[in-house]
Subunit: 476 residues, 2 copies
């Protein structure tokens, strides 16, 4: 059993939403609604002095009037009401308050920064821990706590601590559409009490969490952080996205979470030395997260690329090479094997394997992937599923569906990491009905369901593969 | 009237498809079908010795038996049949043959490379020009000629010459979904006769073509090419994607179009000096193409960013800055204007403008964009449309639709270039029904229909904006 402070906080028996509301436009509505929607098993206490009932539940005029104990409070009241609420929470023995409430230090106004400090002081005096302020709090699917609509209800093994609620919200959608599921997502805004170090330490110890993701604008305790990071990175992959890397980003971070960003150079050096992986944006974080979620370790940079047409194959070679992968020529043993099989183009096929030339031969992308998997010269396999064929509807549908079947079948037989690029197009809703894009979306979903990570462009596939190579090389 | 050789070739009065077929799986079927599908106005002659009728049209056993004149021939017969067909074409006075037929020099087999040369020699003797071999030929919407299913039937102002048929095919889908339309797309494979220089010169002279795109694996005439390029680039934006930049890419290019790629360094220097713009892949080519298609010139790197939530705003600043844009602090005049308007957060709002803090104020992204447009300190405007808000369905639908209306309205009033990032997610078909993604796809289509280019990620938006800045700076 985990003894970290957050373990108890993250498993409350009862939650009060202060500032709960019956108005679907209000945040106090959303937080209450989510507890019902995601099936929180403990007691739920809406608190609002002007409503006797909220969402079909009895509401209380204040925390003090709640009959039972209250472990966890979600605060959706204005900043000016927080000190009074803290008094009530103190009397009630509340363990933790998630302050959704914002407009403190981040506004740049001295009186509001002072108020923030008074809140911290009083919370400390009362032994109440604070998540936030100025954040969306928790998404904890196993407990039925959430800050967003339509998040997956089933839990997974990815833990995310994020200083930005909006960023985390978007990432939960982004990541879950690409197949990952979360153990806990904690958004923590201004981090005046519990900070990045607490969340990192917790995820590091949490057996449910296999991959740690962090979005950080500024560190509250940089000394402790790099120590924690080193410790955590020795046991689990940690992907860190730093917001506020440049001058304008730091300015924006200050007015977002009152973060004081440090030197970017020092940051980069420290995270790499600690063994963590840097992401430049949430898209790259998703690319990396799905890779660690689905793939076995990557042992080197030698890549086999299969499935694209002529031009796309040429470009995939360039892009992989420019990303720092090694697109080796097709090994002689594979060529000999093709010849023995009576393949009429055994001397023409290469790496990347151009799918448009195999026309009349019985040879498929799946066959080549298996040969590359058996051949000791390859470390990574990349599949390309794109639009580069001039055939009609029936032929394309048959080919795409055949490709998917082949990847899924091959996946079970091979031991090397397989990444598949499934091209994405910028669709309008009317394009949804086009069989051409439907079959690609169908392919994407089927590959993901079979545990094959997919990527939207070759540039992102290659760059992700390279980061995996570097990560596993550094760990040796 | 254009006097370039290609002008007559591209406007044939009659087309024969040699190797035409009634079998929907065959290329000889596709090419014939497209002439009907896209409404080619001239005469169509299917040629096949074994079928009296193809797709409801009388078919002829050979070119010679066709009663009228034949201007243009699409060859879908095997390589071994081409020399005989050339004889017939010569007798018939054919002006140009598009050799879809492949398996020549690109196979690496000497006897097939020799055959290719014999074909060229005989074509020259007969005064017949060749497009290809080993290519998909033409998409010319105004004439009703196409090599792909489901291409737009309406023409536009983008000309594309591509050595890869599959690459061009994909790009037509990619580009048209993002709002651009094409004057002519010419794919040209091994380019044994008409080559990159001819196509470039033609597009340079063609009044229908305002933006030129090229995908090139190897140059057939590099001296002439750079002269043509310089000439063309002085009149129109030219975006060039080079395939075969690295060792493995060059290997792949040789087996795709028998291209001999030269030094990448020399290539880069020459294209930049000539005034062309380099793209690294078809995705970047699309980003650049839509920008030139929709935007006015960009006069400098000072960018105003509007519409993202807290974290996404911070990251947008970092990403813009790292791309080489200048995310200037919000100018004092705008702050003063906000104060005069009675905006309660006039001292907190910045650039990027965090949309999540404007909550109760009447202030919108559109208002800020107009102020930035009027303010002389900004050169470029970027809008962010993302998922970073924890609200429920009705609120989000109202906000997204409001944003779109606001962008469309503002677009008519402002004079500065406006790029909008509309986030894309990797969807499976079942996600199509989710209102959350539908409203984004709806937004994308509406913005594009109003002439606002959209981009799928902030990284790509920023990198495109930077390339525009550099292009217009070089032209000064």
């Amino acid at each position: 059993m985990l003894t970290h402070t957050l373990e108890e906080i993250l498993h409350p028996q009862s939650i009060a939403v202060v500032g709960a509301s019956s108005n679907p436009g209000a945040s106090g509505y959303n937080f209450t609604y989510h507890l019902l929607e995601y099936g929180f098993k403990g007691k739920i206490y809406p608190v609002n002095p002007r409503s006797p009932e909220i969402l079909g539940m009895k509401a209380y005029p204040s925390i003090k009037e709640i009959p039972g104990t209250v472990d966890y409070v979600i605060s959706a009241v204005p900043a000016s009401a927080v000190l009074n609420m803290l008094d009530d929470c103190s009397q009630k023995g509340v363990k933790c308050i998630h302050l959704f409430t914002g407009r403190f230090g981040e506004t740049g106004r001295p009186e509001l920064a002072e108020l923030e400090q008074s809140i911290l002081k009083q919370a400390r005096k009362s032994g109440i821990r604070l998540i936030g302020p100025n954040c969306l709090g928790l998404y904890h699917p196993r407990e039925g706590i959430s800050f967003g609509y339509g998040f997956p209800s089933e839990p997974g093994s990815v833990g995310l601590a994020a200083q930005s609620g909006g960023g985390a919200l978007n990432f939960v959608y982004l990541g879950s559409l690409r197949g990952i599921r979360f153990s806990k997502v904690i958004t923590y805004g201004n981090a005046i009490d519990l900070n990045e170090c607490d969340y990192l330490d917790y995820f590091s110890q949490d057996p449910e969490t296999k991959i740690i993701l962090m979005y950080i604008e500024g560190l509250r305790d940089s000394k402790r952080f790099f120590k924690s990071l080193k410790q955590a990175a020795s046991t689990k992959p940690i992907i860190i996205l730093k917001g506020g890397r440049g001058e304008s980003g730091m300015r924006a971070a200050a007015s977002h979470t009152a973060a004081l960003a440090g030197s970017t150079k020092i940051w980069e050096t420290m995270t790499t030395q600690a063994g963590a992986i840097s992401a430049r944006d949430f898209d790259e974080m998703a690319d990396l997260a799905v890779s660690f979620y689905f793939l076995p370790p990557v042992h080197g940079p030698r890549v086999g690329v299969v499935g694209g047409g002529g031009g796309p194959s040429v470009l995939s070679a360039d892009i992989c090479e420019e990303a720092g992968l090694d697109v080796i020529p097709l090994p002689t043993e594979i060529r000999e094997e093709l010849k023995r099989q009576g393949n009429s183009i055994w001397d023409w096929i290469g790496n990347p394997t151009d799918s448009s030339i195999s026309g009349e031969t019985a040879f498929s992308a799946g066959d080549m992937l298996q040969m590359m998997d058996r051949n000791q010269n390859f470390d990574i396999l990349i599949g390309i599923m794109g639009e580069g064929t001039p055939a009609g509807k029936e032929a394309i549908l048959a080919r795409r569906r055949g490709d998917v079947k082949s990847y899924v079948k091959v996946k079970k037989k091979i031991s090397k990491p397989l990444l598949v690029m499934v091209e994405e197009k910028s669709l309008g809703t009317k394009d949804y009905n086009n069989w051409r894009w439907r079959v690609m979306s169908e392919a994407r979903a089927k590959l993901i369901a079979s545990g094959i990570p997919t990527y939207p462009t070759m540039a992102r596939t290659a760059s992700t593969a390279r980061k995996l190579v570097e990560y596993y090389q550094r760990r040796k």
